[in-house]
């Protein structure tokens, strides 16, 4: 028994303090929407965090069981509304998997192009909002400035700025307008040097590093146990990316594309571009690494967009029409996970042979990523809670569906 008493973690204070229960959210500036966190605090120290979700629940899955596959596309827009293109793609591919349908070569490259632009847009929001969580306002607006330009491109392509419904079952709703590729390339050329500014303002900023390095450290095992995915998983050093490791129908889309998964291997990140060095304080799996992985993926996605522009313009022939609105789906079931910006987004559908799926389910990456928050926040300070939750880059629309 004596060894227990000598445990250095057991420390008693003369002054006994009381705990306080604090509600962070659902209306709070830094809970990214309508997340409600119940904090049990002792002074500034948080002993327990409990996320409460469901404030944005809209029964999307049930609605999906009453609509045809193509009709449900707009509902996928509203899941991760910051990366609606990738949500469209996930659902379209899942349906195509069940139908064993293959889109044209041109549509395939256009999908890569659009999906990677969507990833950039999503990571820009994640990055900017993370700065906001840490109390710096300007990077947020710099990020949104660039995102606006991507939204302009999307608007030109499909007419919408937030909920696109562009990628759809059997292809895309329309081909790109003339001159679009040139404007896209111009955007990339203009955007590339700006990334250095983000690194200066955030990634390498001394205060930013102090606030994020060694905070909310998530081990490799913990990340896998909780089913984390995307940058959150890769930030912990797990080398997994659905674009490379996923199912054939998804990886075939990226066939022939050269990209290196943004993950720390053998003590260093990919060296395909010039990146700032990892600060000495940062521990693999902390908030800084999760953020940095996102920054790397922005560059990686830019490379992919450039490659897809080349391939898309090299493709002769038509884009192909998407499937009919009420195309019958063969009986059976299919599940497919794609690499959405925030992690692995899975869609599952069961069909009884009619046009309307019998069951529809979605597996949200943000949901699993948020689930690990209580583990990460245990024993941190109140100021670390936004830093940790922000580094998970969750979207409530996707969690609550």
């Amino acid at each position: 028994m004596s060894h227990v008493a000598d445990d250095p973690r057991i420390i008693e204070f003369d002054v006994r303090t009381d705990e306080m229960l604090v509600n962070m959210g659902p209306q709070h500036p830094s809970t990214h929407g309508v997340l409600r966190l119940v904090l049990r605090t002792d002074g500034e120290v948080v002993s327990e965090v409990e996320p409460h979700i469901g404030y944005l629940h809209r029964c999307a899955e049930k609605i999906g069981e009453n609509l045809t596959a193509r009709q449900w596309i707009p509902y996928t827009d509203r899941m991760d509304y910051l990366a609606a293109m990738n949500m469209n793609l996930g659902w379209a591919l899942a349906v195509e998997k069940l139908m064993k349908y293959q889109v044209s070569e041109k549509a395939r490259h256009l999908r890569v192009l659009i999906a990677e632009l969507g990833r950039i847009a999503s990571h820009l929001v994640g990055m900017g909002a993370y700065g906001l969580d840490l109390g710096t306002f300007s990077p947020f607006l710099y990020a949104f400035r660039e995102r606006e330009k991507i939204l302009d491109l999307f608007e030109e392509a499909c007419g919408a700025r937030l909920t696109y419904s562009y990628i759809t079952v059997g292809g895309l709703t329309a081909d790109l307008p003339p001159g679009w590729l040139g404007r896209c390339e111009a955007f990339l050329d203009q955007f590339e040097p700006i990334i250095k500014e983000y690194h200066a303002l955030l990634t390498t900023n001394a205060i930013f590093v102090k606030r994020t390095a060694n905070i909310g450290v998530m081990s490799r095992d913990l990340a896998i146990e909780y089913g984390c995915s995307g940058p959150v998983l890769r930030g912990s050093g797990v080398d997994q990316d659905m674009r490379r490791d996923g199912e054939a129908i998804y990886t075939a889309m990226y066939d022939g594309y050269a990209f290196e998964v943004a993950v720390m291997k053998d003590g260093h990140y990919p060296r395909d571009h010039e990146y700032p060095p990892v600060p000495a304080d940062a521990v693999l799996g902390d908030c800084w690494h999760r953020f940095f992985v996102r920054m790397l993926e922005v560059v990686q996605s830019m490379d992919l967009v450039r490659q897809s522009i080349d391939r898309y313009s090299a493709c002769k022939g038509p884009l192909g029409e998407p499937l009919k609105l009420a195309e019958k789906i063969p009986a059976g079931d299919a599940y497919l996970e794609t690499e959405a910006p925030k992690g692995q987004m899975g869609f599952y559908l069961v069909s009884d042979g009619s046009a309307i799926p019998w069951r529809v389910r979605a597996r949200s990456s943000s949901f699993s990523n948020l689930a690990v928050a209580p583990e990460l926040c245990r024993g941190c300070l109140i100021a670390d809670v936004p830093a940790i939750v922000g580094s998970l880059d969750i979207v409530m629309g996707e969690i609550d569906r």
Binding site: A5, E19, V217, V283, E375, D384
Partner: protein
Amino acid sequence: MIPLAAIDWHSVFFFLFAALACGCAVAVVAAENVVRMALYLVLSLGATAGLFFLAGAEFVGAMQLMIYVGGTLVLLVFGVMLTAQAPFVSIKTAPGDRVLAGVIGAALLAVLLQSAFSVPEWRKPAAGRDGEPAATPLGMALLGTRVDEASAGAPGGVRSGYLLPFEIVSVHLLVVLVGAAYLARAKRRRTPRAIEVAASMEPPATVAAHAAVGREGSRGGSVLAGGAR
């Protein structure tokens, strides 16, 4: 129009500050909420500082603001901390205590008044208000040189000033500081409770442990995660 020239502004302000100081002092006793008491105390002490300024003792006035009013800040913080859980707890004084306190207070006041009125110079208004005790001679006196007395040609040359009392007070304060730090420090105790807590909780231990470990706490994750590095 009121003949402003006829008003002795000095007296007006004196009475203003004096009334404020006395009124707030009474309010401290009468109030039932700890934080309000602290606020009244601040006002009372602040008004006293105003009286010092009025008397031309600017150094003492600023001292009063800095030390007493600033010190009450800590009192206020404690008040807030102690009553934060149940807001606005009121402190009720028993009637017997009130009488007792009144008697003691009145006795003290009588003693003070008696001694104040026994100083003949204080019975009539001072000749001038421009005494202006500058801060420099005060500081020099604390460091051991009475420049004021030397210039006045005091017998025996320059007097030694207040260096010794100053040092004694400094050391005394230092001791108090060290003592406070000793009392407030986190202690490791082998109380039955600690053992029980330790036995019942495996890693990331109690809240108290988290509080004490502070930043270490968040690294709990990384300890579990040795393999990740």
